[in-house]
């Protein structure tokens, strides 16, 4: 079973993802957390195939989170799902993300990107 960790400071977005992806709950094991710190501690406890994170979050942003994930769990696929990435963040993220998706991102595209990273 593919294990996917979703990170976004917007709870509503996490809930919506949870609902939307409910159809594939038998194929993916999905965990939703609302901050970079929570994501790191979750990764410390369980292994994940893919991490999907937002860019702009308070404290630790997506680029920083993915950088740490790349260091500590290099086998985890790293996907950025963001509404907007400014120039500076774009540069930082370019080296650490395997895929960058723009919000709003259709379910099919998101699933395809996750499947690709999990494979």
């Amino acid at each position: 079973m593919t294990r996917v960790l979703f990170v976004d400071d917007e709870r509503m977005l996490l809930n919506a993802l949870k609902c939307m992806l409910r159809g594939i709950r038998r194929e993916w094991h999905m965990v939703f957390v609302d901050s970079g710190e929570a994501a790191l501690s979750e990764l410390g406890k369980n292994a994940y195939d893919v991490i999907v994170t937002d860019m702009r979050m308070p404290q630790m942003d997506g680029a920083e989170l993915l950088r740490r994930v790349a260091e500590q769990w290099p086998d985890t696929g790293r996907v950025l799902l963001s509404g907007y990435t400014d120039e500076d963040a774009r540069e930082r993220v370019a080296n650490v993300a395997h895929a960058c998706l723009d919000k709003p991102c259709p379910a099919t595209e998101l699933c395809a990107a996750i499947e690709q990273q999990a494979a």
Binding site: A16, G83, Y84, K103, P106
Partner: protein, 453 residues
Amino acid sequence: MAAARYTPRFLQQLVDRLFMRAFAVSGAYGAMVVATEWGHRFGSAFFVYVIWVTACLVLGRIVAPIQNRFIPHAVFVGINFGVVLGFGLVTGWSVPALMAVPVTIATFDIFGNGDTRPYILTMLVAYAAAMALGGVDWRASAVVLAIGFAIHWLFEGRGDYLRATLAALEESKASLEDAMKAQLQAEAELRQAHKLESVGRLAAGIAHEINTPVQFVSDNLSFITKSTTDLSTLVQLLKSRVTSTDEVEKAIIDADLEFVLENLPMALESSRDGLQRIGAIVRSMREFAHPELRELGPVDLVRGIQNTLTIAKSEWKLVADLETDLAPLPKLLAHGGELNQVVLNIVVNAAQAIRDRVGKTGKRGRITVRTRADREGVTVSIADTGGGIPAAIRDRIFEPFFTTKDVGQGTGQGLAIARSVVSKHGGTLTFDSRPGEGTTFFIRLPVPAEALT
């Protein structure tokens, strides 16, 4: 060869000069004889002076057209001199005469065109004759002549220096004015760029803020759509399997179940459509203000135009229909953001022109945007069905700070900056305007050589 080529003209000039010299000498001589004779006859110095002035003016009128071929103001200098000298001769007051000679010669040398010697000589001979005739002592005459020659020797050709100085002054004035204009333009562009940058930053931030809810609303919508299908299947199954009671029947009617099941998919579908539209607008906004577009790089102009038209929709949708005919264009090497701005500017102007024309009549105009590529490069044409640009201001619309809009409506920099942006990209911005029919702007841009091959 060169000598042969110039000889006829030289001869022509010589004949002209000899003719003028003879004419001036005899004319001045004749006028002075007449004036002096008449003056003596009537015994009035003032009368002589009047006749003298009249004679000189008449002489000037006759000589002027002939002399104009060479030296327009020589005649007037000559007349002035004649008047002063005549006054001096007749009244016996020799100071004006003595003063007039050097002053006139110097004036002549400084302000005359070309070789002044023939004219100086003519004058001196004429006035020497006049002095002799008027009974001025020969020594005084000699002094006047000597001073005249000395002045001429001193001032000859000074006019060239003066003219050169004046020309240089004019030139530096012109270049200063140009520099000032360029400076103003640059400042305006800089302000515009800063404005664009902050607008872009703002737009990108807003895009992010909008996109996050759009993301989860559409995710929820996917979930609701899926669940709705599942639930209605379930309801159908229950309806067929469960024995209905009055209570159930009543609940079904209260819930308007039939209508709900029929319309839910449609409501969801239109919500999805609305979200897609929001997404498209936000994407256009984000792309329009994309940071990469501030740099020089490969630009898909058609995409830029589409984004710009989406963003400017609120400007035109109430007064005009949009017609697009966008042929694919090769990638340009450009500052995409600046080109977007040019297109935006012209589209907003077009909408404004149509709004001014249709007013509150409820009629609608049309904005037509076309792109074409050929061997020369690419052309974007933006046509409106507004009132056209009045002929009187057509030359001025690209001037910085020229505006026809009311105070506060426009800064008059839009088209000036647009033109400067286009020329910075090696292109041209032109227009074709017909009063009562509308205006079409043409943006022509070169395509990088490698894109053509």
